[in-house]
């Protein structure tokens, strides 16, 4: 084993000599890091599960045809012809040339899956009961990569061929139907067909469970009178927070309308952002307090060790090496404190996850320690330790050895 260098040896011995002080400040750093690790993990995983729930029944990006605009029929002469231009009602339309655009979207950077959809309003009728629904024609193999509907099937199978239909659990209840029953669908466009229920799903949202009816693309195209067309294309992206950027990029490239989940859920995002900001503020204050703690311990240590510093200087230790001795102490406080703090934070998370649970008994969040959070905490704590030690270390290095020995 290579013996530790002089600076390490002196730093560790000084810390051991001031055991009480060293222990107290390490406890301080530990608590600080534990708070940061605990809070960050808690907020991150709560946010992740919230986003997960929101995105569980939603595409990351929905592509629609550009809105139809009212264009004044007369050439502009500089004088206003009409005081007001009425916005046009948006009819159900197909995306122009969708079969050419679709492969481009599928291959766009950041996009991991795309799924065409034909959707529009319809009525589901059984006997004398009639319910207003949203008819959604999809290709099941593609759609399952956008919304994991196949995981939400509670009865029957996830399959769409011929006149198969998948309906929500609430609609099934309302109409008194189950797997194998027939369902009549009529649309405002005059289409009508009888579908066979092959599966019942529960996406965790009563409203959607009541309104969604899935069929094949072809059935929906016929019923909604968009032969060969699709009314929207759903996209999934690899980094969910890139959705807005990808939307903006694709909008300018295609002229179509892109709605990212971030825009559709702007309020949720604002709330998450505020939560993140307050977490960041708490972290900053903890970091400042930890830094002040380390600095004050080392300032006292430098005063107490004046004589020893003077002797070391007299025996040939340079100013730089004395400085390193104190910087190492700061860094060590940071490192040890952050490792212990990581462990304590992990423990707190386990306790928290055991005590607080969802209504159905599952943990509110996964009490897993993100290695990245721990790594950031360690690196920050070491950097803070070094920074906090800088002032005392400079003081130590500048001590006049003759004075230190005389008055020490």
């Amino acid at each position: 084993m290579i013996a530790p260098p002089f600076e390490w040896l002196v730093a560790l011995r000084f810390m051991r000599e001031g055991r009480a002080q060293s222990s107290l400040i390490i406890i301080g750093v530990t608590v600080g890091v534990a708070v940061i690790v605990f809070l960050t993990t808690l907020i991150n995983s709560l946010q992740a599960s919230l986003i997960d729930r929101v995105l569980g029944s939603q595409a990351h990006i929905v592509v629609r045809p550009a809105e139809e605009l009212a264009v004044p029929s007369l050439p502009r002469t500089g004088t206003a012809i009409a005081a007001r231009i009425e916005p046009r009602a948006q009819r159900l339309r197909s995306i122009d040339q969708w079969e050419q655009i679709y492969p481009l979207l599928e291959r766009a950077p950041g996009v991991v899956a795309a799924s065409p959809m034909v959707s529009g309003p319809a009525f589901a009728t059984r006997g004398s009961a009639s319910k207003s629904v949203v008819l959604m024609g999809v290709d099941p193999d593609r759609y399952r990569r956008i919304v994991k509907l196949h995981e939400d099937i509670v009865a029957g199978v996830f399959r769409l061929t011929g006149t198969d239909a998948l309906i929500g659990i609430e609609l099934a209840k309302d109409l008194g139907v189950t797997v194998g029953d027939k369902l009549r669908i009529t649309t405002a466009e005059g289409g009508a067909d009888v579908l066979t229920i092959v599966g019942v799903f529960d996406v965790g949202n009563r409203d959607l469970n009541r309104r969604w009816v899935f069929t094949t693309l072809r059935v929906s195209q016929t019923l909604l009178d968009v032969p060969g067309g699709v009314t929207s294309i759903d996209l999934a992206v690899s980094q969910i927070f890139d959705a807005e950027d990808i939307s903006a990029r694709l909008t300018s490239a295609t002229g179509l309308q892109f709605d990212s989940w971030m825009r559709t859920n702007a309020q949720l995002l604002a709330a998450l952002r505020n939560q993140t900001i307050s977490n960041r503020m708490i972290r900053s204050f903890v970091v400042i307090i930890v830094a002040l703690g380390i600095a004050s311990v080392l300032v006292v240590s430098v005063v107490q060790k004046q004589k020893e510093i003077g002797i070391l200087r007299a025996m040939g230790a340079s100013r730089r090496r004395i400085m390193v001795v104190f910087l190492l102490q700061g860094a060590t406080f940071g490192l040890v404190g952050s490792l212990l703090g990581g462990a304590l934070g992990f423990g707190l998370l386990q306790v928290f996850a055991t005590i607080y649970r969802n209504a159905d008994g599952t943990p509110i969040f996964a009490p897993n320690l993100d290695p990245q959070v721990l790594a950031v905490a360690c690196v920050t704590a070491i950097a803070v330790g070094l920074l906090a030690a800088a002032v005392p270390a400079r003081r130590a290095a500048r001590l006049d050895p003759a004075n230190a020995i005389r008055h020490g």
Partner: protein, 237 residues
């Protein structure tokens, strides 16, 4: 003749320079010490002994004049070079031993070597053990300074000062806080190292009894050398 271990030419030292309380403590000291000499530096309190020792020890810089250590002019060296020279050429023995309490006796002894080398090794440990045995502290090697008596601590300090065979050892009242018996022991030990290894000593002392046992006595009074007398033959020339 060999290069003098120490040569002082017109060394002056003032404190609080440029202020109304400016005071010159040393008024032009000339002094030459040859290899192997054992020199006592005496004088009443405030005569400038300790200041002179700090100047020679490169812990402070003179206001004027030149100091050459083993033939090397020091007044032109920068801070780092001074620190390096101090580590290589000078051994220090202080009045209050000044061992480092966080290190054991043997670690204190090889501290100067460790500073020079950057890390401890087996050879320096072996040498430190040998020196501790030489100063009569066998069995005490791994004790902390606080577990040793005053006399034992001062022996550790002597071993430390000699750990790297420095050309010159500076001792500031090395027996000042010891009882007569321990003081004699410690003094005898320094003398032995001086005779056996030819190490040069400059010893500041209040004790006229000890001064009489040195080869040469330099007396300071109010910042002047008032006496420089070889009282004992046999110092190498």
């Amino acid at each position: 003749m060999a290069e003098p271990v120490l040569r002082l030419d017109g060394v002056r030292k003032s404190y609080n320079v440029g202020t109304p309380v400016e005071a010159e403590v040393l008024h032009g000291i000339d002094l030459v010490i040859e290899p192997g000499e054992f020199v006592a530096l005496i004088g009443p309190s405030g005569s400038g002994k300790s200041t002179l020792l700090h100047l020679v020890g490169l812990l402070e810089r003179p206001s004027a004049g030149r100091i050459a250590l083993t033939g090397r002019e020091t007044t032109t060296l920068d801070e780092d070079a001074l620190t390096g020279l101090r580590g290589r050429a000078l051994g220090f023995i202080f009045q209050f031993h000044h061992l480092i309490p966080a290190f054991t006796a043997v670690e204190n002894v090889y501290m100067p070597l460790m500073i020079e080398r950057g890390h401890p090794d087996a050879a320096m440990r072996a040498r430190a053990m040998e020196l501790l045995a030489r100063v009569g502290l066998e069995g005490h090697e791994h004790k902390w300074p606080a577990q040793l008596s005053g006399g034992q601590q001062q022996r550790v300090a002597i071993a430390r000062a000699l750990s790297f065979d420095p050309p010159l050892v500076l001792a500031d009242e090395p027996t000042g806080n010891l009882d007569t018996h321990s003081a004699d022991d410690v003094f005898a030990l320094m003398r032995e190292f001086n005779r056996e290894r030819g190490i040069t000593f400059l010893v500041v002392t209040h004790d006229p009894r000890l001064a009489q046992r040195c080869d040469r006595v330099v007396e300071l009074l109010d910042g002047h050398v008032v006496r420089d007398e070889r009282i004992r033959p046999g110092a190498p020339s």
